[in-house]
């Protein structure tokens, strides 16, 4: 499978009568785009704002962030959610660097899952989204739209916007083309057969909260009864996997630019052989968890024939233990593992960092503590959260988990909890 990400760099985002890419300036027809996104009976009203790096601006109530991508040559975008259900991960995809679409959640009933983005100040550097030009979508639910319908509509609007922006790059020559090509896993050239075979076990959802019917996660499937399965890494990079509706500490943007898959590609054929990706969900009950853990390990050990596996989780404590059980099953089959965990301590004590102690699961990387307090400086403008603006304008105390992009559990983060 061969995927071309055709990157165009953007260093300016402006409103204009038509959407087009002129050099590195992306002109957006905000009015036309707003009209396009408003055509959803689940939404009552839509507003679009632009936020720029360096601006003393805070984006409040962030729900998810989407990377602007659009398939070329008639391919489907975000299949199963926006486009028709069809395979992605191959062919050509236009991609914009330096721009992101930020979806906000204007319902207040679950503030714990929301986050902010700072466009300037000391915290901007902690998140990828403090360095991108952001198109911010605020949408309000139509009367009668329930929570799941509203979030599905908000996400769909963000996906449409992401495609709308990236299509502007179809007409121009890309600044660079990134090629992702991985042969079928067993076909290792003899001269590279000595490299360790490494698989990635990617937990894409946690069933602590059941998914809504319209909460498409894998090719539009709400992964309710999903058992571990193998996908091609290119499918993940090309829009087959979206984040569910509850998942602070992970964004769809990061899945589209998956740091682990990129690192494995970077080492492929040099320091390792990228053996493939297994996607899993964190299960809700013990028999499901055990079944899922050994099935994932089976795929890693017996199907992909991996020597090593790296695992990541999504969410809190149950996914953390679920991932560790899968790692323990891998170790039991002789597959060496590392896992990325979040510091789970709620009182800042090192003894509370980890919720498990399984044999062999001894190589752990951490993405920091989302509970550690963080102070945001005062800003000039708040967007995406009008009703909270008085509170968010001034110096604000939040936690690392509340700064969107600071802690990305799939590994792009550079925040680390250090034991002192």
């Amino acid at each position: 499978m061969r995927l071309e990400l055709r990157w165009s760099d953007v260093d300016e985002l402006v409103t204009a009568p038509a959407t087009r890419l002129v050099g590195k300036r992306l002109e957006v027809d905000l009015e036309g785009l707003s009209e396009l996104l408003s055509a959803d009976s689940r939404l009552a009203r839509i507003r679009l704002d632009l936020a720029h790096p360096g601006e003393r601006c805070r984006i409040g109530r962030v729900f998810d962030v989407i990377a602007p991508r659009a398939k070329m040559d008639g391919g489907e975008d975000f299949p199963g959610v926006l486009g028709a259900v069809t395979r992605v991960g191959q062919g050509r995809t236009s991609a914009l660097a330096g721009v992101a679409v930020v979806a906000t959640d204007q319902q207040t009933d679950n503030v714990g899952t929301l986050a902010v983005i700072d466009m300037a100040g000391p915290n901007a550097a902690l998140s990828a989204f403090g360095r991108t030009h952001n198109l911010v979508i605020s949408a309000w639910p139509a009367p009668g739209a329930d929570r799941s319908e509203y979030l599905a509509a908000v996400r769909l609007a963000a996906l449409k916007a992401a495609v709308h922006l990236a299509r502007a790059a179809h007409a121009v020559e890309p600044d660079r083309v990134e090629v992702f090509e991985l042969p079928p896993s067993p076909r290792v050239p003899a001269e590279l057969a000595h490299l360790p075979r490494v698989a990635y076990v990617f937990q894409i959802h946690s069933h602590q909260r059941p998914t809504g019917l319209d909460e498409g996660i894998l090719y539009g499937d709400p992964v309710r009864r999903m058992l571990p399965t193998i996908v091609h890494p290119n499918e993940v990079l090309d829009g087959a996997v979206l984040r569910g509706f509850m998942g602070r500490s992970v964004t769809t943007w990061t899945t589209q630019n998956h740091p682990m898959i990129r690192t494995l590609y970077a080492g492929h054929g040099r320091t390792l052989w990228f053996a493939g990706v297994v996607v899993t969900v964190a299960q809700a009950t013990e028999p499901e968890r055990v079944r899922s853990a050994f099935l994932a390990a089976n795929l890693v050990a017996y199907t992909l024939g991996a020597d090593g596996a790296v695992l990541t989780k999504i969410g809190g404590g149950a996914p953390h233990v679920d991932m560790a059980q899968a790692a323990a099953q891998c170790e039991a089959l002789g597959v060496r593992t590392t896992a990325i965990v979040e510091d789970m301590s709620t009182d800042g004590s090192a003894e509370g960092m980890l919720l498990f102690d399984f044999p062999g699961v001894d190589a752990l990387v951490n993405v920091g503590s989302s509970q550690e307090p963080l102070t945001l400086p005062a800003v000039d403008r708040v967007i995406g959260a009008d009703d909270l603006a008085p509170k968010l304008l001034g110096e604000t105390r939040i936690t690392y988990g509340g700064l969107c992009g600071a802690i990305e559990q799939v590994g792009s983060t550079r925040v680390m909890a250090e034991v002192r």
């Binding site: 590392t338 590994g411 909890a417 250090e418 002192r420």
Partner: protein, 351 residues
């Protein structure tokens, strides 16, 4: 916060205070003006940054045998010298000395609000006892290189006294205090994870970024009587509470638990219960509380004589993101209450 030349007090034992060896280990707390014995190395390390205004000395045996009162006496002597910083030891591998250094540093920090630092060898029992409260700099086992060791204590002590940021244990050579702080590193977590995996696969040394937790195994005690004569209690961390959550048990990171009577109940009526637990899908437990707390089956077993008696109080808390300290406390309190009520065994349902 002190600036300029600092007033420093040193604490040493009878040997490093040059009063004598083991024969003088019973000597009680005393103070000498200026730097004596090992404190001279501290003064040398301080250079112009500070002055050792007093050396407080106590015999190892006295400190060990009068642990509580010796610390009180020593804190009084330290306070009288009005220091900006206390440097205790280094105690190397000397156990009684190390424990005394740790105890004095902890007391001076909390009672006098004066920063303190000590130093020891990794195997000194004072390390494990005090590293969580006190900065303990890692030293060798013997006093063969006193000046460089004193320099490292002084370097960290000066940062503390000046209110400067303290970096990680590796940067300053102290034993990890067991607290975590977010820091920004160069390589992404994904890059570090793959590098660590390749090291592990190649059999090279690797350093996990998370310490293995110490969950000591608890052997279940044997039930001393037959089930037919035993009183059984139901306990859960799955979050079942009466409607309205009268004890306000937190949805996560719980610090509270509830004791709920089931007297006269053969079943739990779903409409009278709720569940604030935020760590799992509570739909099915709300629909039928027996899925979490099996009062129905337990009553049948009680009726049939399979168990002697069902305890009339159910204990419940929310087990998600709960700290180890809170879990241990709640567990201890619940166990004490069950024991006092004559309960012989517990069915603990978790989620």
């Amino acid at each position: 916060m002190a600036t300029g030349a600092l007033r420093v007090v040193c604490y040493v034992n009878q040997f490093f205070g040059q009063l004598g060896g083991e024969d003088k280990a019973g000597i009680g707390p005393q103070v000498v003006d200026g730097a004596v014995g090992a404190a001279r190395a501290v003064q040398q390390a301080l250079g112009g940054a500070g002055t050792v205004v007093a050396t407080v000395i106590c015999g190892d045996n006295y400190a060990a045998e009068h642990a509580g009162s010796a610390t009180v006496e020593l804190v009084t002597l330290v306070a009288a010298a009005r220091p900006d910083l206390l440097i205790a030891g280094p105690a190397f591998l000397a156990g009684r000395y190390g424990v005394a250094c740790g105890a004095l540093c902890a007391a001076v920090q909390t009672q006098l609000k004066i920063p303190a630092v000590t130093g020891m060898h990794a195997e000194n029992p004072g390390v494990e006892l005090y590293r969580r409260q006190v900065y303990v700099v890692q030293t060798g086992s013997e006093a063969t290189r006193m000046l460089p060791e004193a320099q490292r204590l002084v370097a960290l002590g000066l940062r503390l006294a000046r209110g400067e940021t303290i970096g990680g244990p590796a940067a300053h050579g102290y034993f990890a205090r067991g607290v975590t702080r977010n820091t920004v590193v160069e390589a992404s977590a994904a890059d570090r994870a793959i590098a660590m995996l390749l090291d592990k696969l190649a059999g090279r040394a690797f350093a996990s970024e998370v310490p293995r937790p110490e969950f000591p195994p608890v052997a279940p005690p044997r039930l001393a009587k037959t089930l037919g004569g035993a009183t059984i209690a139901l306990v859960t961390d799955g979050g079942l509470v009466p409607r309205g959550n009268p004890d306000g048990i937190e949805a996560l990171n719980a610090t509270r638990y509830g004791a709920y009577s089931i007297e006269g109940k053969t079943r739990l009526d779903a409409s009278q219960y709720d569940n604030p637990h935020r760590g799992y899908d509570t739909t099915w437990v709300k629909q039928d509380p027996h899925r979490l707390v099996p009062v129905d089956v337990a009553r049948e077993l009680e009726q049939s004589g399979a168990i002697g008696k069902l305890h009339e109080t159910v204990y419940s808390t929310v087990g998600v993101a709960t700290t180890l300290a809170q879990s241990a406390r709640m567990g201890r309190e619940i166990a004490e209450k069950l024991r006092a009520a004559g309960v012989d065994a517990v069915i603990l349902t978790s989620t």
